[in-house]
């Protein structure tokens, strides 16, 4: 027993090292060295297949990604297309796809090296490598997680990762109407030009600053009004004088339960300046109608009010839950100590509610910051603002991006602004996340 261990120690990790090196040199070599012939040959065939059939397309795709096309479309005198030309955007997406495929291939390569190392190490320690049938059985058991993950992985790769990389790269191109729209024209890399023009050109910087300020004001107002009104109703419904609590709670949850898109469109009609009931009632009462959608101030006021209607039930429901879970003994103890109703509220109820709901406050702010539906479906960003580029007075950043993209084809500028939004939202999320310490969960440390 003792001698065996000495031999192992002397030889160190010869098989492990050799196997890994060979597999690094060419896929499967290490496995063959470890006498796992079928597995080794399969790995080698995979690398051969990739090298033979995919090298040229890969290099072409990378060339396309770097140049974004070299042949512009040509038309003859009558406007008919003579040369189809390169489509920069398709070249770019193809380039990204090939790049992602390369990453996946490299991951498989890494697994191959790791496998050769592990089997080699097993041999160093005197274990016999598995035969092919055993390997397959082992892979099925150990690889179950990968099998489960594959569908989700493919989906995430193509519907989130790829579009995101593309969305970010666009910021560094001149992809915008009317002069750089494929397939008619080529798109080029321009570095940080779009970023600087957002700051340098007054038309852009004015809009950006104006919209940004309103976005922040809006998100703050929307979050705090709903939070405190929700708190108010949760406390009110908790009052002992209120009978049929469940009935009232269900009634007040209705605005949250009705599909938001429907109620927003209803409100769009209710606030209609000419025909809407609200202004008609004002007229009946002998008051002047309010220009809800044509005056910036009133439009903003209406947005915040309508959002309050939508938002308070969410907080009310959450806080009601907290209230019913507070231990009654706390109050009884406080009463014995001579605390009056207000003192009991201030030192028991309020801290407990704030403590359990404040993490949600941050997420709610982030949600409102990007609450596209609220703005676009209710006011569509209006009324028009002549000093803005492609934005109305009530547009927030995200609805401005939407207009820049789908209505104005200013893709590069939209991308720059969305990178900015990402930075803002990401900092909120990271801050929130660090605070909740989910990362210190023991299972995150392998």
């Amino acid at each position: 027993m003792r001698t065996v261990r000495v031999v192992v120690n002397l030889n160190g990790k010869v098989h492990a090292r050799t196997g890994a090196l060979l597999s690094l040199l060419f896929m499967g070599l290490g496995q063959i060295y470890n006498r796992q012939f079928v597995k080794g040959i399969l790995y080698a065939l995979l690398e051969l297949y990739v090298l033979i059939f995919w090298t040229k397309p890969f290099l072409e795709a990378m060339h396309g990604l770097i140049t974004l096309g070299e042949t512009p479309q040509q038309r003859n005198a009558r406007g008919a297309i003579v040369v189809q030309g390169d489509h920069s955007i398709i070249l770019m997406i193809t380039g990204i796809i090939f790049f992602l495929l390369l990453v996946i291939f490299l991951a498989v390569y890494a697994i191959n090296v790791r496998d050769a190392w592990k089997v080699g190490k097993g041999r160093d320690e005197g274990r016999k490598p598995r035969n092919f049938a055993q390997s397959v059985a082992h892979a099925w058991e150990q690889g179950f997680a990968y099998i489960l993950l594959t569908p989700a992985f493919v989906f995430v790769l193509f519907t989130i990762v790829l579009p995101l990389i593309f969305g970010i790269l666009i910021a560094f191109t001149n992809y915008s109407g009317p002069n750089h729209l494929p397939p008619k024209n080529l798109v080029d890399w321009v570095g940080f030009e779009t970023f600087t023009s957002l700051i340098r050109f007054r038309a852009w910087s004015n809009t950006f600053v104006g919209v940004l300020i309103w976005t922040i004001v809006w998100a703050t107002l929307a979050t705090f009004t709903t939070y405190f009104v929700g708190l108010f109703y949760a406390l009110l419904l908790n009052h002992r004088a209120v009978k049929f609590k469940k009935f009232w709670r269900t009634l007040f949850i209705l605005p949250w339960a009705v599909p938001g898109i429907i109620s927003l469109l209803i409100f769009r009609n209710l606030f209609n300046g000419e025909f809407g009931p609200i202004n008609q009632y004002l007229k009946l009462m002998g008051l002047a109608p309010i220009p809800w959608f044509s005056d910036p101030f009133w439009a903003k006021f209406a947005i915040v009010m309508v959002n309050l209607w939508f938002g308070f039930p969410y907080w009310m429901a959450l806080m009601s839950g907290v209230l019913t879970n507070i231990d009654r003994e706390l109050y009884e103890a406080a009463e014995i100590d001579g605390a009056n109703g207000f003192q009991r509220f201030r030192s028991i109820t309020l801290p407990l509610i704030l403590f359990s709901t404040s993490p949600l406050l941050i997420m709610s702010f982030a949600h409102n910051f990007n609450n596209f539906n609220m703005i676009y479906l209710f006011t569509s960003g209006g009324p028009a603002n002549p000093s803005y580029s492609y934005a109305g007075s009530t547009d927030i950043l995200i609805s401005w991006i939407y207009k820049l993209t789908l209505e104005q084809n200013k893709f590069n500028m939209a991308s720059v602004v969305s990178i900015f939004i990402f930075i803002v939202v990401a900092s909120f999320s990271i801050w929130n996340f660090r605070r909740t310490r989910a990362f210190k969960e023991e299972d995150m440390i392998q």
Binding site: R240, W248, L251, L265, G276, Y402
Partner: protein
């Protein structure tokens, strides 16, 4: 202590009920107004009478005959059901893998999912548009379903993973000792324990397509392919205001089932939201 036993209490009760009733009016009015618009004869946005002057189903008839409403409804239902099935399967399988297995790359993938969750989904809009165009999935309901399902994974996987993590490990260990396969453990042990969170994920993904405007508008181009969100939006933002009563009828037919679903599953939804918040 009985309410109203002291003069102060009685006053408080009066004030509270006054507030409750006023709030109830504010909450109910917009909804009542749509019911009224849908069922009352005539087609104007405003009427002086608060009570209906008659009862008619004309607006529903117009809605069904003059617009593609029934088609939109079918499209939305199709997208919602398919998205619910596909998303739930994708989310649950991924979450199960993350929660029950320790494999190389796990930590990195979880981190990546977390970061991806932060990106606003619209950042990828243009690329999604071009990808779907290339795959011939533009103006196709399946294109929309794929986009929704992909988008639901990062948040959902984290949420459900957290829930799985919180389940007692002893049950899984016991099943393993009894020789149960991975699949059996998943189906017989984990699934029954996870009904609340699975309900939340399923309902969320079912309701999502009824509410989404951005992606539906991006992917669907022709009226016969619209979902309800786009169809109803176009009805209201069109030039004429005579469409309002049709819109009201259409809104009612969407709002009633979705609202009932929400109220029925309230408990799960609130629990799910809380769980999501705690996990970041």
């Amino acid at each position: 202590m009985q309410a109203g036993s002291r003069p102060g209490d009685r006053l408080a009760a009066i004030v509270i009920y006054l507030i409750l009733i006023l709030t109830a009016i504010v909450v109910i009015y917009p909804l009542y107004w749509v019911v009224l618009g849908a069922l009352n004869p005539g087609s104007s946005l405003f009427r002086t009478s608060i009570l209906p002057t008659g009862l008619t189903l004309d607006h529903f008839r117009e809605l069904f005959t003059e617009t593609d409403y029934l088609l939109w409804y079918r499209n939305t239902l199709f997208v919602a059901v398919m998205n619910m099935i596909l998303s739930t399967v994708l989310v649950v399988t991924a979450a199960y893998a993350f929660s029950q297995f320790r494999f190389p790359g796990r930590r990195q993938t979880l981190m990546a999912m977390l970061v991806l969750q932060i990106f606003p989904s619209f950042m990828g809009m243009i690329a999604i548009y071009i990808l779907l165009l290339q795959l011939n999935l533009l103006d196709n309901l399946w294109g929309l379903i794929l986009v929704y399902a992909g988008g639901s994974i990062p948040y959902g996987a984290w949420l459900v993973k957290g829930y799985f993590d919180a389940q007692p490990r002893s049950l899984v260990e016991a099943a393993k000792i009894d020789g149960a396969s991975n699949f059996t453990i998943f189906r017989k042990v984990m699934m029954p324990l996870s009904v609340p969170i699975l309900t939340f994920v399923a309902v969320n993904n079912f309701i999502g397509p009824w509410m989404d405007f951005i992606f539906a508008r991006l992917v669907l181009r022709s009226s016969s392919k619209y979902t309800l969100a786009i169809g109803l939006f176009n009805m209201v933002t069109g030039r004429s205001n005579t469409d309002f009563t049709k819109f009201a009828a259409g809104a009612l037919l969407v709002a009633i089932p979705v609202t009932l679903l929400f109220l029925l599953l309230q408990k799960y939804i609130i629990e799910g939201l809380k769980a999501g918040a705690n996990k970041g």
